[in-house]
Amino acid sequence: MLQYAALIPFFPLAGFIILGLLNKKLPKNIAAVIACGMLLISFGLALGVFMNISGKTEEVQLAPWINVGSFSASFTFLLDPLSSIFLMIITGVGFLIHVYSIGYMHDDEKHNIFFAYLNLFIFFMLVLVLASSYLLMFVGWEGVGLCSYLLIGFWFKTKAYNDAAKKAFIMNRIGDLGFLLGIILLFITFGSSDYHTVFTKANGLMSGDTMITTITLLLFVGAMGKSAQIPLYTWLPDAMAGPTPVSALIHAATMVTAGIYMVARSGILYALSPVSMLVVAVVGIVTAVFAATIALTQNDIKKVLAYSTVSQLGYMFLGLGVGAFSASVFHVMTHAFFKALLFLGAGSVIHGLSGEQDIRHMGGLRKKMPITHITFLLATLAIAGIPPFSGFFSKDEILGHAFSAGMVFWVLGVIGSMMTSFYMFRLLFLAFYGTYRGDEHKVHAHESPKVMTIPLIILAILSTIGGFVGVPESLGGSANFDKFLEPVFHDAYAKMLLMEHSQILSEVALMGITVAAAAISIFFAWNMYVKKKTVPVSEGTRLPFLQNMSYHKYYVDEIYSALITKPLDKISGFLGNVVDNKFIDGIVNASGKLTNWVSGLMRFVQTGNVDFYLLAMVVGIALIIFFKLM
């Protein structure tokens, strides 16, 4: 059975090839059926794997790829509980988003190519999580980056979208260089980049090995790019230029969690390096809080969600950094449910309002879009961490571990979590409650068609009950999720020796505090946006300093542009026009001129006068004899 799992990525690849080659020759509905059908088959196979994988690890060899001495990699897939969870998320949530896209992209003239790209993305994402070596993971890793590029700039007539796409690709490439150098070091250190070899050899090393620290930090640079962590996060908010299903699939549910997957997969390596763990945790928590402060004041519905994603990814890295590997993966899963749902809900709103994305021009959509509203509400409760919704369990598990790793992580985590509740309910209240603030005559808000709302409903169910697979023992559950992943992280946990589960009472108390904090934030948001009916001020109004900084995203884009982009262009011009044309080529031309000049001088000697030649000869011989005698 598990052998067939190797086929999982190839159905979407076939979909891509068919749709890509035939493109406009296929009617839209057939193209959509092919794209969704391919994914459904993959989902079925993934489900089969998931059912049979518990406690097992299986490798499926397909073909050799690159073999140069010890630097070799093959197309070999690895199936284990960790990859099976990602398979389920990618094919399951991916399928729902494909179905949703049938409605969302129905009138787009590039409908078929959109589905082709989506299928290609799923292919690369599956390769990423199925790879059995770092080098093959890199194939998926860069492949999803390509699809992200293609889909962010999907509407390529608009320059701003193309700029966003280019920015995403280049920023990811900065991270990828770190990843690639990390892989090269793995090859040099372990003679291979296959997980099996690397992890087995690493298991014999002592904690604190410098080489392991270097490797893990380089790999983490890659993760920072792909998973949008400080300082490589600015591409993700811009990536919202792509069609909304793309934001849901790539920039929320799947691709951006690749960094989490990579660090979790390398758990044993990170466990060996306390320094890297600390770096991961610090970058995670700082990003989580920093991005949340930006989300507080944004007015574009997708921008709020984008910064929220950056922030939630920060939480996941916090979890990894404090050694809560399975909790982080758990949060990847619940986040995939509720964040995909939030984006698709936002898409439904945008679709219903003919393209409006500014929450200041929404309001009162609750009545006009009842299904979107209910599902959005459930997702908001889930992300805010209200029990018993899914986000509660996963986020609390991370915060619980953060508490044992260091009080400060937990405090910052709770503060971030308060902000999360606030900005999410601010968004919910402004969009769906109160009265409609847009132009009633121009826009006729309406609920979306069934093909869009059914995926919303399924995701809402998952967001609501999805957390029950990982109810902690302190709440009378059996932590099934952790147990399922235990074999994968076993060695890593053994290296860390900090996973004590003794303080059951305080664990419950901690949960109480975080839930109370979230509830207080919700109350503030309700008081401000429902009771007092506050609406964010319009563009151009002067804001108080902190609010202004948040609203302008701390001017990070402007700083990057002034410090990196513009100077590089200047340097480029200088090197090209001055150094290359004037200096280096100047030397070359000067040597040519010198030759000319010398030959000009020599010409005077070539007089054709025999007397002169004779004289020169005699003088020459005299000189030679003279010097010889000396």
Partner: protein
């Protein structure tokens, strides 16, 4: 015999091509280059995986001077012969119908193919030098007769530049020749032995003589200033020949002649030449950022890519050398595709300035897709042809010296910057006045570009097809036998 057949056939067709009626000239040249390709493909498929030279032919040429006509093919040269014979038909086929003096053009290209094959199969130092110089003659005339406005000045500069380098090589070769046992000989093995018997000091000096010749040809920073002008001003087919195949002569020369002859010279100077090459990767890549003329931009990108290949080879380990070999193929394929696309754009719009282009994808989706795939190869996306090479090269340089590897690795960022910028400003955004009436590819253009796209993907997915062929020869080279 097979090698002689290749050389004589290409030379013969080059001569006959001059007398064929004009309207058949195109078909004749294309077909004969296709036959050459088919034959070398046969040689490639039947090529045994060993380090030994195959099809060796050795006959005395000028016996009194120990000069032999000695040719043979090993795992390294077969790949370069393949590259030459694969690209030449595409380059010939890409010539537009309205080109003046077509027969001369075709014949010069065929003649050049002969000389290039000769360079890659020579096993005698003198013969190598002869082919090396002969290859310059056709490209000189191609640039001079079919080039752009400033062709006379630029071609002269190119000619003097590379002749200067060649003369240093000649001096080096003669010096080594005189150090061979009495009854001197230009035989490759004899020159190897002569070089290795020299003191480290002498090897160092000779190393720089050869470095000038090969470094100018590639070109390596800072010997590159002839290149952007020449690439820009030469006719597209000339640029393709120069960048796709001819610059590989320089790299090949380093692998085949310089390193085996002067191992101590390399050992002493590897650090300098490797850093020069790495500097070129970054330097030329950054200059490419702000180039507006697409041809010039790709010229600079070529300096950057070749710098990485050179760095990997100077690192002199298995990853670097193997990466260098496969990257020579990928670079040849990609750069010919890119220059042809520029030619297509120029022939439609009359400009190569990316500032006045845009929106071509809307008008010509086929061209845009092909461009995208070749661009991905150029930025070394995994599963395209650029990746195996760049990965191995960066690994090789990294093994030699990790900081140099990290700096060379910047190419994956820098390359993405200038390539995506070029793609966006030509293919994406709103169409401009110039591109408003852009038409998609003709069948001729498609038949040139589709084989290139296939190679981009084939090398990316199955690099072992080529890596395995060169492996024994590389291992032999590394073992210093």
């Amino acid at each position: 015999m097979p090698i002689i057949a290749l050389l004589i056939f290409t030379f013969g067709t080059a001569v006959i091509g001059l007398f064929i009626p004009i309207r058949y000239g195109n078909r004749f040249a294309f077909l004969s280059s296709l036959i050459v390709f088919a034959y070398s493909l046969y040689l490639f498929i039947t090529f045994p995986i060993t380090a030994e030279y195959q099809y060796v032919l050795d006959c005395a040429w000028i016996p009194s001077l120990g000069i032999h006509f000695k040719v043979g093919i090993d795992g390294i040269s077969i790949l370069l012969v393949m590259l030459t014979t694969f690209l030449t038909p595409l380059i010939i086929f890409s010539i537009r119908k309205n080109e003046p003096r077509p027969r001369a053009f075709y014949s010069l290209l065929l003649f050049m193919e002969m000389a290039l094959i000769g360079v890659f199969v020579s096993m005698d130092g003198f013969l190598f030098y002869i082919f090396w110089e002969i290859a310059l003659i056709p490209i000189y005339f191609i640039c001079l007769l079919w080039g752009g406005k400033d062709r006379v000045r630029i071609t002269l500069k190119f000619f003097i530049y590379t002749m200067t380098g060649s003369l240093f090589m000649l001096v080096g070769l003669i010096y080594l020749y005189l150090h061979t046992p009495v009854q001197h000989s230009f035989d490759m093995q004899a020159l190897y032995a002569a070089g290795r018997s020299l003191s480290a000091h002498a090897q160092c000096i000779l190393f720089w003589f050869f470095f000038l010749a090969f470094g100018i040809k590639m070109p390596i920073f800072p010997l590159h200033t002839w290149q952007p002008d020449t690439y820009t001003d030469a006719p597209t087919q000339g640029t393709m020949m120069l960048s796709g195949i001819m610059l590989k002569m320089g790299i090949y020369g380093v692998i085949r002649w310089m390193i085996p002859m002067l191992p101590l010279g390399l050992a002493q100077n590897a650090n300098y030449v490797l850093w020069l090459s790495v500097a070129g990767v970054v330097y030329a890549g950054i200059i490419a950022f702000t180039q507006r003329d697409m041809k010039r931009l790709i010229a600079y990108s070529s300096i950057s890519h070749v710098g990485l290949i050179a760095a990997g080879i100077f690192a002199f380990n298995q990853q670097g050398l193997q990466g260098g070999i496969i990257q020579m193929l990928s670079h040849g394929v990609n750069v010919v595709g890119l220059f042809f696309i520029v030619d297509i754009i120029q022939s439609r719009t009359g400009t190569r300035d990316i500032g006045s282009l845009g929106g071509i994808r809307l008008k010509a989706p086929f061209l845009a897709t092909v461009f995208a795939i070749i661009m991905l190869g150029a930025v070394a996306l995994p599963l395209t042809d650029g990746f195996p090479g760049e990965f191995l090269l960066i690994s090789g340089v990294f093994k030699f010296q990790n900081i140099a590897g990290a700096v060379a690795g910047l190419t994956i960022i820098i390359g993405a910057v200038y390539m995506l910028r070029t793609y966006q400003r030509s293919m994406l955004n709103e169409p401009s006045l110039e591109t408003d009436k852009f038409t998609d590819l003709t069948w001729v253009e498609k038949s040139v570009l589709i084989p290139i796209v296939i190679m981009v993907i084939l090398i990316g997915i199955y690099p072992n097809l080529f890596l395995k062929v060169s492996e024994p020869a590389i291992l032999k080279l590394l073992s210093g036998v």
